[in-house]
Amino acid sequence: MRTNRAHMKTLRSQRQSGARLILGIFGKDNALDNTAEKMNTTVLHKTPLHALHVARGGKMVPFAGYDMPVQYADMGVLKEHLHTRAAAGLFDVSHMGQALLVGKDGDPAVALEKIVPGDITSLKPGQMRYTVLLNDDGGIIDDLMVTRWDETTLYLVVNAACKEKDFDYIEQSIGLETTLGPMPERALIALQGPKAAEALSALLPDAAQLTFMTSYKTAYNGRTLFVSRSGYTGEDGFEISVPEDTAAAFTEKLLENDAVRLIGLGARDSLRLEAGLCLYGHDLDEETTPVEASLKWVVAKRRRAEKNFAGADVIMQQLAEGTERLRVGIRPDGKAPMREGTELVDANGKKIGVITSGGFGPSCDAPVAMGYVDAAHAKTGTEIHALLRGQMRPCTVAATPFIQQNYKKD
């Protein structure tokens, strides 16, 4: 038995396993790969919850330069996924990049809007927005969350693997007007699922008042937390920024609630895939624009009129004329999972696209995927095929999310 893991670009690029035999991305081979890591000069970062993960049976793997739990011994990916949708899952996402963007002379949103297509200036204190950092060709440098704290301060959360690149780009692009302050001393914890609000309210009574994509600051044991109602699972939930010296105690306190279980990166990926949410480096990259990525909605109406953000020429033209390829949801007809890198073809076997994220959706009890196809095949309901192990297998272009989202809208 040998494992095909071409679909795990991020992990693969960080490994130098000399083992001929490779078993499961999240399998015991990680012990092997960790050994390889240790023999290299690569030193993996640890989050403030690292010891807690190890003590609670986390199977640790290298991810974006961090030693992270991919699953826990007592449940595994499948049960962790289903538990999150049924109760509450707690995720350590401290590897992500947190930073404050402060205006040197007023609102930093004015400067940030030069490199993102979203409406940031109109955000009210406490409101947060999903947006994308763009290069001059309209390609996506990263996707990120922006929260307004006050007239002169924005709080940013960016992808772990993109932190340095993003922070450099922000400094270079708008460093004259803003000061960027990364906050590596803070942990970030996501609590997701239908029982998240009840569990968090026991510690932070005001958290339940938040609605989707809003945030507030509060105190816990004399330390300041940033709490938002947001997440990456399609469920109601929260993301909580905690100073590193308080992160483990805060997490242990949440875990005293029987509804709350630790969830690893494996289930985080299958949950976001079912929710139709993009994973940077897989579904989005610097050669892909928001229009191609079917994220037109991140280009705000006012910004379309102003046309004054990086890559606006390309993006406005694509909005007017369409693009050659589009990101779509894909439902394989059978039971076989179709993973990243799987080629998509038309009825004649001609290549029309590729899967960029795919696997088994535990809540769908079926394989689910997303990928890019030629625009002629992008309409929901279009019958296409995937070339899997040399065979053409039918699939259908499908709307995302694949599950019902359960956000707390009001």
Partner: protein, 124 residues
């Protein structure tokens, strides 16, 4: 006489006369995690030793099954297709993948016995 041998690719083969029953080891199922999909060879197919004879997938990864010996597929375990989780619950029992008519006994000498396989997995 019945005998169980193992490949370094983590397949086992239980041999009775000239028929081998092939599956993946307990070590392999633990490493894979929750199995969600199994693809079996077809009855009548002939496979080479080391040739692909099926697929086993967990939530996160896809692995190919390589036949530990050459021969003709004479029986497949269709129950696995509808209940792939059996691979986790009883990998070396109910969750066998296929039975093969062994073409060449001499190929068996390259496989490991239980003690050698355990020493091999312990070294990983």
């Amino acid at each position: 006489m019945s005998q169980v041998l193992f490949s370094e690719d983590h397949e086992y083969i239980k041999i009775e006369d000239d028929i081998g029953t092939v599956g993946i080891t307990d070590f392999a199922q633990k490493a894979l995690g929750d199995v969600v999909y199994v693809e079996l060879p077809k009855i009548g197919d002939t496979v080479e030793k080391g040739g692909q004879a099926g697929v086993v997938e967990s939530v996160k990864s896809a692995s190919e099954i390589y036949s530990p010996v050459s021969g003709e597929i004479v029986e497949i375990n269709e129950a696995l297709t509808s209940d792939p989780a059996q691979v986790n619950s009883d990998p070396e029992g109910a969750a066998w993948f296929y039975k093969i008519k062994i073409a060449n006994d001499t190929e068996l000498s390259s496989l490991k016995d239980a003690a050698a396989y355990k020493a091999f997995t312990d070294s990983l």
